[in-house]
Amino acid sequence: MNDLCADIGYLSINHAGEELCGDHVETVQQDDGSAVIVLADGLGSGVKASILSTLTSKIISTMLASGIPVEECVATVAKTLPVCSERGVAYSTFTVLHLINNEEIEIIQYDNPLVILFRDGKNYDYPRTELNIDNKKLYTSKLKLMENDIFIAMSDGCVHAGTGLTLNFGWQRENIIEYMEAFYDVGFTAKTLSTILLDECDRLYEGSPGDDATVCTVRIRKRETVNMLFGPPANRDDCNKMMALFFSKEGKHIICGGTTSSIAAKYLGKQLKFNLNYGDSDIPPTAELEGADLVTEGVITVSRVLEYAKDYLSENSSYKIWSYKKDGASQIARMLFEDATDINFFIGRAINPAHQNPDLPITFSIKMNLSSELADCLKKMGKNVKVSYF
């Protein structure tokens, strides 16, 4: 196994007026760094389309992940899908991205817009082989993965965006390539790249999409560890032990909390340097400490990070704030959501006597909930998260 890993992020917008999305993305991740991602687009829109695409993506991802050849998967889907009473066909297009050991990718495409691959910042036209299964024309490709590869899979709602409204023939694949190429070097996460593309589609549809549109982005990147320290240990005698374990970890180091950062400063024998620059933020300012990458205040900052994490997992609209702002919460969000693939939390369980004031909205349970909720969110983002309590 190499030190590459995949950052997978997807998002959909629904056909105007529909509660359900007719596109569906299903991912199956395996321990050896393999993953199967299926983006299916069911015929029509609404409930019927949603059932077709959910079944298709679930069947294909489960079967491929257990090593069953693609021909059998397609045959199973064809036999399982309910036939649409209006149109007399059972139909769902799909795209499969099958990552193998983080070394290779197998792409299988059936009637969705062709997957876009950016390699070294440029569109890369990968070879495709035609495959005929039950009179269905599929394209398969197998490629070696390279660091910084970005794969973008879409449903046809993306390339149809704007047809007859803002554009005559919709947004062609070439236009999408041109549009997304500009974001290659920024370092946005897969989820954010998907959001950027979909936001543009939504704009072209003038906010009222004529079809379900889905984007699934996969970024191949190197593993990176970020360690986060939050709160002093329950027993003050454990300070040195906690600090020694924290600072011995490879990767970046974030320290959250006033008392916690003083303990860290004492351990390192360095001075904390505070800045009083609030900017336009209502988050307490950060501090600098030689030996740590970021020092922030505790609960208020981490509460904000948790808000950003929850939003990232749903609509992902607040990346427009945290992806560039300089306040502590935005900086933590960038380090945890964008930079990190592996995260070690060092959570101290000390009860801060200063917080035992009924006038203050901070309690011990809030602090403990914050850390566990944040860890859960980060796991849902596909990160390896380890939590140690002291």
Partner: protein
Amino acid sequence: MKITVCIGSSCHLKGSKAVVGELQQLIAENNLKDKIELAGTFCMGRCQEGVCVTVDDKFYSVSPETTKEFFLNDVMPKVK
């Protein structure tokens, strides 16, 4: 002279941002930038009395409403 304002959680909630902002303004208005160093710190351990402020090593409890008064009564006389 060094004025240190706590920017920890409790004091933040009690308005240290406003205190810092007002002090910055007062220092600028009185042309005291080379005489007063304004700094931040995390928790001083006296959150009940926040916003916690120290002038050199002397402790003061300040709120956004009393910042101007604190500056005129406790800071200005010492500068001159």
